[in-house]
Symmetry: C4
Amino acid sequence: MSTRIVELKKVKLKNPVFIEGLPGVGNVGRIAGGYLVEELKAVKFAELYSSHFMPFVILQKGATVHVLKNEFYYWKAKKRGQRDLIILIGDSQSINPEGHYDVVYTILDYLAKFKVKDMFTLAGLSVGEKKEKPNVIGATNDDKLIKKYSKYGIDFKSGENIGTIVGASGLLIGLGKERGINGVCLLGETSGMPLLPDPRAAEEVLKVLAKILNVKIDTSKIKEKVKEMENFIKRIESIQRKAILDIMKQKLPKIGKKAKEEELSYIG
Amino acid sequence: MSTRIVELKKVKLKNPVFIEGLPGVGNVGRIAGGYLVEELKAVKFAELYSSHFMPFVILQKGATVHVLKNEFYYWKAKKRGQRDLIILIGDSQSINPEGHYDVVYTILDYLAKFKVKDMFTLAGLSVGEKKEKPNVIGATNDDKLIKKYSKYGIDFKSGENIGTIVGASGLLIGLGKERGINGVCLLGETSGMPLLPDPRAAEEVLKVLAKILNVKIDTSKIKEKVKEMENFIKRIESIQRKAILDIMKQKLPKIGKKAKEEELSYIG
Amino acid sequence: MSTRIVELKKVKLKNPVFIEGLPGVGNVGRIAGGYLVEELKAVKFAELYSSHFMPFVILQKGATVHVLKNEFYYWKAKKRGQRDLIILIGDSQSINPEGHYDVVYTILDYLAKFKVKDMFTLAGLSVGEKKEKPNVIGATNDDKLIKKYSKYGIDFKSGENIGTIVGASGLLIGLGKERGINGVCLLGETSGMPLLPDPRAAEEVLKVLAKILNVKIDTSKIKEKVKEMENFIKRIESIQRKAILDIMKQKLPKIGKKAKEEELSYIG
Amino acid sequence: MSTRIVELKKVKLKNPVFIEGLPGVGNVGRIAGGYLVEELKAVKFAELYSSHFMPFVILQKGATVHVLKNEFYYWKAKKRGQRDLIILIGDSQSINPEGHYDVVYTILDYLAKFKVKDMFTLAGLSVGEKKEKPNVIGATNDDKLIKKYSKYGIDFKSGENIGTIVGASGLLIGLGKERGINGVCLLGETSGMPLLPDPRAAEEVLKVLAKILNVKIDTSKIKEKVKEMENFIKRIESIQRKAILDIMKQKLPKIGKKAKEEELSYIG
């Protein structure tokens, strides 16, 4: 089955900008993406399912089940200087290396239908300490973009020292280049503490993004929202953590002393 | 190869209800499903094989080999107020995360041929202690169903706190929603002790299911049956457990102190 | 790529019997199969490659590389009472669970071209101790075959207690049944000591097989042959063992105390 | 997605020789291949991407992202006695066993378009100690080639004792044979110390290769170049190492004492 997209409604968009905000370090991308969708009242039009997500459903309020997925929202420009948007948010990334490529290529193939030419991916960057005012560090797939976007307060200088960007935020702009998409990854500095969603980093990322997109986002409610979300996010994360542990327990039973000797002799 | 279904006979069914009972916590689903098939004298019409099951055959009485599989049975309504049934039972679920999606989508594609609109998945819910009278907790893919089925003694209230349902019972109703199938998962409370099939939990699940399906199931023999099955089930489980261990031993030889240093240097 | 068969020459065979002898416990199947090919001067006509084998080449005498593969040989009946044979031998089985199904289905699809109706798979059965006269234990995919083959000295009684047959020898007869192939697995009792090829068990398996096939096999040279092979086999096995270790070292670097805390936080 | 090649420009080559130089022991292949491309001013004409590479992008100078890939370069013969070349270099090999086959078959399929008949793969051979003058050990897919190439100072004698060649350098010549490609693997002796690129071994391999190809390569600058590269290579390797560790941490959380008991009971 791998990865597939279920389109809920046909949407016509004019030269849309693509925004990605999926789970990751400090949940910066997920928080920023989710808040953007809410503030803009963007409308869901497609869902992405993948066998590279955890094989379980999550029980929601009212005992209804929730399958892990990513969701595409659209928003139409309201005035001159704005552009149509496609926003991808969701509650999972691939749980295996190969899956990241599969999911990202599926997304890029879908974006091709909308002739997407510009992309911003939102992520966190673990810097090991909490910062009063987290920087927004930039990485891009075309150095011409550095000049274009530096004015928005993105720190491209520090980008050199990041090392790697693992998962969708990195691969989308990396593999998107070949499709002719200009891509910038906005990384909010965060402590990198696990299970700790970082609204401050998300806020800074959103401020930069709002300036670029020429939309007004009231970020004052973001902490409050995250507090509301926090319990839910923490719960999902601890569930995922537990589920991974459970599955691993099944797949990796303790190996005794005799393991080495017998290792190649199991086939009858 | 992945997953495929071998149809043993063509069957015409009228608006059938789908029931799933596969191995899991306390083997509640497997026991309830198997007992239902036996009591109704349902007829096997298809088998499902998957490369996501363990790569071995089990030796049965008479030295004949048994390949791990899932089996589809049908039962035709005998009187007004009953409906045709498709019952899926079997001795395995996927041994890797991706496989669960593959198996479940294969099942859903097959059910589409029968225009299945209603589904019940049977499972156990580990509550950490043995209960005198285990509850049957419900989860669903549509909150309208809660009202419809609450009268049958299903506890949908507690469903919110389950966390996740891993494997086929959860994914079938979760992914089935998109196919337009109304799905309810019936979870019998069980202690969660490994290798311990729980006939009491299965009995409670079956009682609820029988009421919904308007069929008469004499559950008085279930303990007895499980005792008969117990040795067989225990044997299969301990075999599977051993086989997983053996395979893991092969794939995960003990790693000495030098592992870390050399880890990236194996390619010639 | 998965698994594919490269046909070296077109062969016409009349109602051939299929024999499988691949590596496994005590290398019983591999030794018996290889000796049979040599004694009958069977001719290679196809090779099977698979991405489920180890991703390396083995250096042979003369510095030429050897890719891991399975090989199909044929032998034509010389006199009445004999039948054409297809013999599969090789130096590897799948290194992952899914691969066993993939390889076995590829073999079965290929055998279908030759309308194979009868199959014998050769394997070792670990009994924990060296036996003076190892039994040949039988497992089958059709209990009618037990009567037919019991007269050849196969112990089908003990077959019930084997538990499982992992890999090609088990799956070939298990999945072959659905294709209408009568299958018997001949398991020579062996100590199960790793890296110890067991010519005695292979000899007993071969004796039974020769009687069934009505061919004359001089098994007196088998120990000698195995001694010749032993160094080679041991070398290949210790190479495989080392290679598995090396690959695992790369893929499973030691995990420190901080692993648990950080496990879900690697995505940027 | 697996593995795919993106062609950047159409190139016509006359009976080209294929050279592979990818990362591995002592980075001998990568250094030799990269230096060859630079010295010959070979031109890039295709890129290979694979879901079997690490799922991240690397940040480069100027904050631009770099997706892991392999790259095809061509060079046209300048004078009689030379031949057109296709040179494959890159920064990754597959991170899982199956992927090696997938990548290698994708390369071989692509080479078939250029009717490649001769191939040299460049690699390091870990000998456990630093050598003043490292030998270049040869392995081949056809023993007729030993005579042809021995005069170039390749030690085919020692090739017998190598054991295995893991990854692309081995599989390319091994699987290439079936495609009718004459293949020689040139292995430079190196200490096998991890993270230590070995320019001396690469130099010796290059000298042999230059003689065979009848091209002039000034190897005097190789140490210098490697020193320049060293920081970059070390950085990439330590990043990869860290990333593998991070991903493994996610996928292999520590397993407590209860793991064994619960291992098979996670499915609801």
